[in-house]
Amino acid sequence: MPDPEATAEPIVCARNLTRIYPLGAGTVTGVAGLNLDIARGEFVVLKGPSGSGKSTLLALLAALDTPSAGELTVAGRRLSGRPPGDLTRFRREAVGMVFQSFNLLPTLNVIENICLPALLAGRDEREARRRAEELLERLGLSGRARHPADRLSGGEMQRVAIARAVINHPALVLADEPTGNLDSRNGSAVIELLARLNREDRITVLLATHSDLADGVATRRLTLRDGALVSPPCGD
């Protein structure tokens, strides 16, 4: 069997994944008993009504939150019950995050924002700069490397944020409503960029969204309702 690792082993494997939020005296369900496998190289679009648990799932996958129950393995690493140091390393090496509100640091300029994950991970600075410049080139933003991040337009900010998400060569990019704050033209550009990264760099993308902009590029579409998947979870 050729290249068993890359293709056979799913990059995301969730079993009975559950996240319950305590709220006052009672609880609120984020995700409940969710089973999910995502294979390397997929472009998965995650849909579902507001409050169905999309962001909760992404936070769990990015190790920004810990599950209340269930098993979760991402990029070959089991995420439950790990010490904070391991989770930090996981975030540095395995995933890239893209947010609805961009979350660029206003104190840094464009290229510094892109290089930040490399800097935090202690990677070689020159190497990171080279890659950042190359990414900027691909984003059509090469002229703006030294502009303050808070002076860009929304579409530009989100493109910079995507570059920041992939600077450390993650296997998986998690994007939560990346087009939510953008008009449809800028939104399409962002989706196109993610699709290119998926195609050219073989980066797996999980995109949570309400819009239909990504429907065309998705390799698979999932729907969440009340914290569980509605469509069949594993394989097709």
Partner: protein, 862 residues
């Protein structure tokens, strides 16, 4: 009315709820103001209670005389009274003398003995004997008729463990005598002098006890109704040349004048804590305005008038001030007890005897402290409230506030800072107004303000200057911290300003107190030299008015073979409001063993001229207060002689905060009259093999001969006592300083926490893109390090400037003395890192606050 109600509704919903939601920082700021207000109020209360006790005492004692007759530096001959028997202008006259005595025995405290003529005195001072009509009259008659009878106040009688009818042995300079207590005084009028520690005797008994036959301290006069000023002037002219006609309040006024400078300096220092607290209010209100800009814009867009927003934030400042003031009451009530004790002790040792037995918290005092606390809070909230007023409704649509404006404001703040510092340089040299160095104090205020305004600029410079190097050495946390500091420079400036102020005060006072102490040490070593000091019993408390008896003066040298004796005589004198001492001392012998601390002139050339009696030496304070300097002539009436001598030089002296004039004892006798001895010090002629043994032998011999009539104190003990008093005096200062530093640390803690909470999404983003929790903690600590570094660095610079101003200008103007500038590197080297550590520790709540929001919250942000 409706408008008011709706304003308060808005205030409750908009401001109170926000304050409650951010309870931690509100509490920190309120605590800061409370500490400041508590210090301010308790210092005021303590000083005022001491002064009130003094003036009340002086007023009861002064009675209702119109004028008093005194003889400067000496006693009035009783015959003077005859002048007034038939004088057309005078209706009543009386005599009065006072001295301190104490009950015979170990460790008893002196109390004031007042000698009066019970008959003549009735129209002047009010005092009544306890008991039924006839019993009181009996006691009064006994006092008049029988020698060695005394009236005591009830509390004093209790302290001395005697009752009416009992007997009591009292010690005075010349002798110890037994008294019979004929009655107790009712607690009113004269009985309240010195907090009730007084006894009254007939003037004849007084003279017999003290040996001052035929002499009295003072004659009180009451004029006939309708007497004209010219008649009073005529009376003054008729008096013999060496007598003076003065007002009864002169003693009180000169006493309070002396305390005033001390009071003022302490008040200014106590205000410092409140000033630092003011920074806190400013920083919190400013942070709220900045953080809630968007909400403000929305309010404006919904129709709120600009002045409504202005009033909202002003009200917030008022609320902080009001709460702080309420919290200050319990803190102050603890603090004031310590301060009262320390302040009254200092005033007693340095200026005038005070005894504070009660502390009255008058409504007036309460309102002053409330007004000052509220006022400073309102002033602090003013500027941010104006800023709130300028928020435009359009900002509700903007995404972010541009950084451009911040940069510009850092630069314009720096320009304003330069303006402040320039104004400071202009104000500093202004002459004092009525003994108050107003220009100096204003200059200090401007100095603080200037440095605080400079801090955003310094922060930006430091952060951008170190950015490259630090990120290479300390990694991404330092780099990110530098960026955050650069951006937040203007907003953090206020807390940094508070730290600058506190550190500057600390540095300046450490330098000042140390310089002062080193100078005093040198002075003590040189001028207060001697191996044994002997004065008439209670010489110090009785201000050396009772010279040593002749037989002791002639016998003493015989007992002290192997010793050099330096005799001296001190007279308390007065020039206008300014009290000073004249001291005649054995200069030739003194120069063999000790020296003065020369301020100007060539000591080598001056010593022989002083010893030869060519002129007097005056202390720095005397020169500063009278304006007389080297080359001028010193003139004063001393007992029967008019002393008129050239001033040869100025020396430093710290014995009292009045002035001192020194002259040769031998030449005083030759030129004027026999000054007699009020004290003498002994020096070993040659250093002996066993100094302690030799000294003990001398002490034993003197005590055996006249132990009941002399006070003895070893040179070393005396010098140690002087330095101990010095340290006690400045203990208050240290406490006040530590409080100011604590308030500044509170400021750092609040600011950093607020900054961290405000940026929690940034911190979470850093975490999400691969930052580790330790990296984020390190980043916040680095931010704190930047703030603290600028705070301490600028504070240190400001402190050095301030110390120079304090020593060279403010002390000179308010006390008249200066000292040798000496920097206490050891203390600074030890305490500055401690302050640094404490300020960094103040960042810990901020570090903890960093992870208050779960990182997943990032995904819920729109």
């Amino acid at each position: 009315m409706r408008r008011l109600i709706s304003f308060f509704r808005l205030f409750a919903a908009f401001s109170l709820r926000h304050a409650a939601r951010h309870g931690g920082r509100t509490v920190a700021v309120v605590l800061g103001i409370a500490l400041g207000a508590a210090v301010f109020t308790s210092v005021r209360l303590a000083v005022h209670a001491s002064i009130a006790s003094f003036t009340r005492s002086m007023d009861f004692f002064a009675g209702n005389a119109d004028r008093v007759v005194v003889r400067p530096g000496g006693l009035l001959p009783e015959e003077t009274l005859a002048l007034f028997y038939t004088h057309p202008a005078v209706r009543d006259y009386s005599v009065v003398s006072t001295t301190y005595v104490r009950r015979q025995g170990e460790g008893t405290e002196p109390f004031l003995l007042i000698g009066i003529d019970p008959l003549l005195d009735r129209t002047f001072r009010s005092w009544r004997i306890e008991g039924e009509g006839t019993k009181a009259i009996e006691a009064w008659l006994d006092l008049l008729r029988e020698p060695y009878t005394i009236l005591l106040t009830a509390p004093l009688a209790r302290e001395l463990e005697v009752d009416a009818g009992g007997g009591l042995a009292l010690e005075h300079t010349r002798r110890t005598a037994r008294f019979r207590v004929v009655g107790l005084l009712e607690p009113s009028g004269l009985a309240l002098v010195e907090g009730g520690r007084v006894g009254i005797v007939d003037i004849a008994t007084f003279q017999e006890l003290t040996g001052l036959h035929g002499g009295v301290d003072r004659i009180d006069l009451k004029f006939r109704r309708g007497v004209t000023p010219s008649e009073i002037e005529a009376l003054a002219r008729e008096l013999p040349e060496d007598l003076q006609l003065g007002t009864p309040s002169a003693a009180r006024e000169s006493g309070t004048a002396m305390i005033r400078a001390y009071q003022l300096n302490l008040s200014v220092l106590s205000f410092a804590s409140l000033f630092v607290g003011m920074f806190l209010v400013y920083s919190l209100v400013a942070l709220n305005v900045a953080a809630r800009r968007r909400e403000l814009a929305v309010l404006r867009a919904l129709g709120a008038a600009p002045h409504t927003l202005f009033r909202l934030f002003l009200a917030e400042g008022a609320l902080l001030g009001g709460l702080g003031w309420i919290l200050a009451l319990p803190i102050g009530s603890v603090l004031v007890r310590y301060l009262l004790e320390a302040v009254s002790r200092t005033i007693t040792t340095l200026f005038v005897r005070v005894r504070v037995e009660e502390l009255v918290l008058s409504p007036a005092e309460l309102s002053v402290s409330f007004a000052v606390t509220l006022g400073t809070s309102l002033i602090a909230a003013w500027q941010p409230a104006r800023e709130a007023m300028r928020v435009s409704p359009r900002e509700a649509m903007d995404m972010m506030t541009p950084e451009e404006r911040r940069r510009k404001s850092a630069r314009s703040a720096a320009l304003l800072a330069l303006g402040c510092l320039a104004a400071c340089a202009v104000l500093l040299p202004l002459p004092p107004a009525g003994g108050v160095p107003l220009g100096g104090y204003l200059a200090v205020l401007l100095l603080f303000l200037g440095f605080a305004l400079l801090s955003p600029f310094l922060l930006e410079r430091l952060a951008s200057g170190l950015e490259g190097r630090l990120s290479r050495i300390a990694g991404p946390p330092a780099f990110l911290a530098g960026r955050a500091v650069r951006q937040g420079a203007v907003r953090t400036a206020v807390s940094v300003g508070a730290l600058i102020t506190a550190v500057a005060l600390f540095t300046a006072l450490v330098i000042m107190v140390y310089s002062f102490r080193r100078t005093v040490e040198t002075w003590v070593r040189q001028t207060v030299s001697g191996d044994l000091f002997v004065t008439a019993k209670m010489g110090q408390v009785n201000r050396f008015r009772f010279p040593l008896p002749e037989e002791i003066v002639t016998e003493l040298p015989r007992l002290a073979a192997g010793f050099d004796l330096v005799e001296s005589r001190r007279w308390p004198l007065q020039r206008g409001d300014f009290p000073y001492e004249f001291e005649a001392m054995g200069m030739e012998t003194f120069f063999r063993h000790g020296d003065f601390l020369w301020l100007e002139g060539d000591p080598e050339a001056l010593r022989p001229r002083i010893a030869a009696g060519e002129g007097v030496l005056v202390s720095e304070v005397f020169a500063a207060r009278t304006g007389q300097r080297t080359g001028d002539r010193f003139q004063a009436q001393i007992e029967g002689s008019l002393v008129d001598l050239p001033i040869l030089a100025v020396v430093r002296d710290y014995r009292t905060d009045g002035g001192i004039v020194f002259y040769s004892h031998r030449h005083f006798r030759e030129r004027y009259h026999d000054p007699r001895w009020s004290g003498v010090r002994f020096f070993f002629r040659e250093p002996p093999a066993d100094p302690e043994g030799e000294l003990a032998r001398l002490r034993r011999a003197i005590v055996a001969a006249w132990g009941d009539r002399l006070d003895l104190i070893g040179g070393r003990e005396l010098r140690e006592a002087v330095l101990r008093i010095f340290d006690e005096t400045f203990a208050v200062t240290t406490v006040l300083l530590l409080i100011a530093l604590a308030v500044a640390a509170l400021g750092i803690a609040t600011t950093l926490t607020v900054l961290v909470l405000e940026r929690s999404w940034q911190l979470n983003t850093i975490l999400a893109v691969g930052g580790s929790p330790p990296q984020i903690r390190a980043m916040i600590l680095w931010e704190a390090a930047f703030l603290v570094a600028v705070g301490e660095g600028a504070g240190l610079a400001c402190g050095f400037l301030l110390s120079g101003m304090l020593i060279q200008v403010i002390n000179r103007q308010s006390f008249g003395w200066t000292f040798l500038y000496t920097v206490d590197w050891a203390s600074l080297g030890l305490s500055l890192p401690l302050i640094l550590a404490a300020a960094l520790a103040a960042a810990l709540p901020a570090v903890r606050a960093a992870f208050r929001l779960p990182p997943a919250a990032l995904l819920r942000q729109r």
